[in-house]
Subunit: 340 residues, 2 copies
């Protein structure tokens, strides 16, 4: 039997915790026999939820915590003072090697700060990026947007590391051979862009470890022209959020349009099943969580509004990450650069 | 009779020139009797197109030019060397007061450079922004995205001017009383953001001439929570292009979904007319061109792929701009700031 991959789940994180976090954990354990889960949270609340399910009791264990970090709390302060919260205690378990990965639907800020401060960076990694998969129209149906985390005002060397780590992730986890890397820009030509992009472009071009294809305009991202979309966090956040916003507004407009006349209402009934199937492929939440790359262990951040299936997918993602030895590959790549 | 508003149309600009540019000009003249148009372009080519239509011959005049600036030409060089192009000659007419406005579907780079260098900035305006209307779900159905032009790496004081000019535009041209201004940010709180946003935020807050409502996350832009969306050009370009890309990909997915089964195909026939109507309201191109604000005269850039109706709308937009005395208002606001 393969060694169990140990994942700490932040049972208290997210809008629907601990109901969906516990359910997602149980579903993951029931679906895959190589997963072991620590559920970190308030003992009473977690136990009540856990009692509802049937599962292999040897593979889920409650880690009792007494504090909860709220969504709106200032992250640095929360991480510093709430030592007995599920986020701090869970991340410390990853740091100490008791667990391989940490999954949370809680405060993004606290997870990003905790990842850096508690779990810690792989030696040589300058900044750990948060890298969600976004739905695109390429063969795999998704691309990696790296970074959309906390690294605003990044430097060119940070972006080069994002490109390397992103390539490793897409090749090892998503199985895309020699993934295409593009840098987000406001035009296709090399001389275009702001100063960060202009400085980063030649560095990426000179990088032997990645398949750099040049600039990518935001217009072409949804078509999936590149597999790894490199940008600094502010721009990445804007892309991710515009994706969400335009998607939500357009789909609500389509629905409203279908309900506007009697004729269209009848048509809507006929169209609905097929449409639902197609649009599911363009749902930002289907891919589970966003990994925070370059840490001594894996931290996965899922949507605050995550349902059980997203929690489950985020947990299973940790298995692939571990099996593929992503962190060893990242370590090797980053150190290779150090020797240059 | 009101004084005629004189608009130079770049007859050679855009993918479909001079066919659609001439047609758009004729349509504008036929629709509104207060418009006079100079069609700048190769005489032979423009004359042939013009001969196809019936219109008031006293209100369209060809301005002969012998050179054409291509879409892919390096802008600065093109503006410097092609003195007898429609862009350079047309902009010089605005500069010299022979015309009030210039409309082009040609090279964005050349139009932006020409606007700054040839038409020139209003005294006190640091950088002239390019400010398209984007479709949103608010009462007016659109918001102003300012800037998505050439001003990458902008300074905080630039963004404050964008906020002021954008407010004037939305109030005077779109009739939105006391328009809401937001700065694009990666969170709602004042302490969030990159250094540019953090420095700009308190300046906007302290600005008495605008209705600043704080940060706006990109996710909320399509819902129309603010009327004036302030950002620097790189971010603005990313928002605009992500809008286009996600919109196009989603609509193609909806169409594909509808055509996937026999049942859905029948439904699609019934749904189509109503859906078309709703989606038209979310079409980026319906609003005509993007004005470049803060210049001694008006420059409007429309899509390279513009059809006649967009050229016509861009021309008519110049009329409102002129009638509302936008530039006098901008001059007054910017100078007010100088006195502080």
């Amino acid at each position: 039997m393969a060694e169990l991959v140990k994942v700490v789940v932040d049972a208290m994180g997210g809008d629907n915790a601990p109901g969906v976090t516990v359910q997602g954990a149980v579903d993951a354990v029931n679906e895959n026999e190589n997963i072991f889960i620590y559920l970190a949270g308030l003992k009473e609340a977690v136990s009540v939820e856990l009692a509802k399910y049937t599962y292999d009791k040897s593979r889920i264990e409650i880690v009792e915590t007494t504090e909860v970090i709220e969504m709106a709390e200032p992250p640095v302060n929360a991480i510093r003072t709430k030592k007995d919260s599920s986020i701090v205690k869970g991340m410390m378990m990853v740091r100490n090697g008791q667990a391989d990965a940490f999954v949370s639907a809680g405060s993004t800020g606290a997870v990003l700060v905790g990842g850096q401060v508690l779990v810690g960076r792989i030696k040589g990694v300058e900044r750990p990026p948060l890298a969600p998969l976004i739905p695109t129209d390429n063969a795999k149906g998704c691309s990696l947007l790296i970074d959309c985390g906390a690294n605003v005002d990044a430097r060119p060397s940070n972006l080069v590391q994002f490109a390397k780590m992103g390539s490793i992730y897409m090749e090892s986890v998503m199985g895309i051979k020699n993934p295409k890397v593009g840098i987000v820009n406001i035009g296709a030509e090399e001389e275009k862009g702001n100063s960060l992009v202009k400085e980063t472009f030649p560095l990426l071009k000179a990088c032997p470890d990645i398949n750099f294809v040049g600039s990518v305009e935001a217009r072409d991202i949804p078509a999936g022209v590149v597999d790894v979309v490199v940008c600094e966090a502010f721009v990445g956040n804007v892309i991710l959020k515009t994706y969400e916003g335009v998607g939500a507004t357009l789909i609500s407009k389509v629905k409203k349009g279908m309900m506007s006349t009697l004729r269209s209402k009848i048509g809507a009934l006929l169209v609905k099943p097929a449409l639902k199937e197609t649009l599911k492929a363009f749902d930002l939440e289907q891919y589970g969580g966003a990994p925070m790359l370059g840490l001594n262990g894996l931290v996965v951040k899922t949507h605050g509004s995550s349902k059980a299936i997203e929690i489950k997918n985020s947990i299973l993602q940790c298995l692939t990450f571990q099996e593929q030895g992503i962190n060893d590959k990242i370590r090797e790549q980053i150190q290779k650069r150090d020797v240059q």
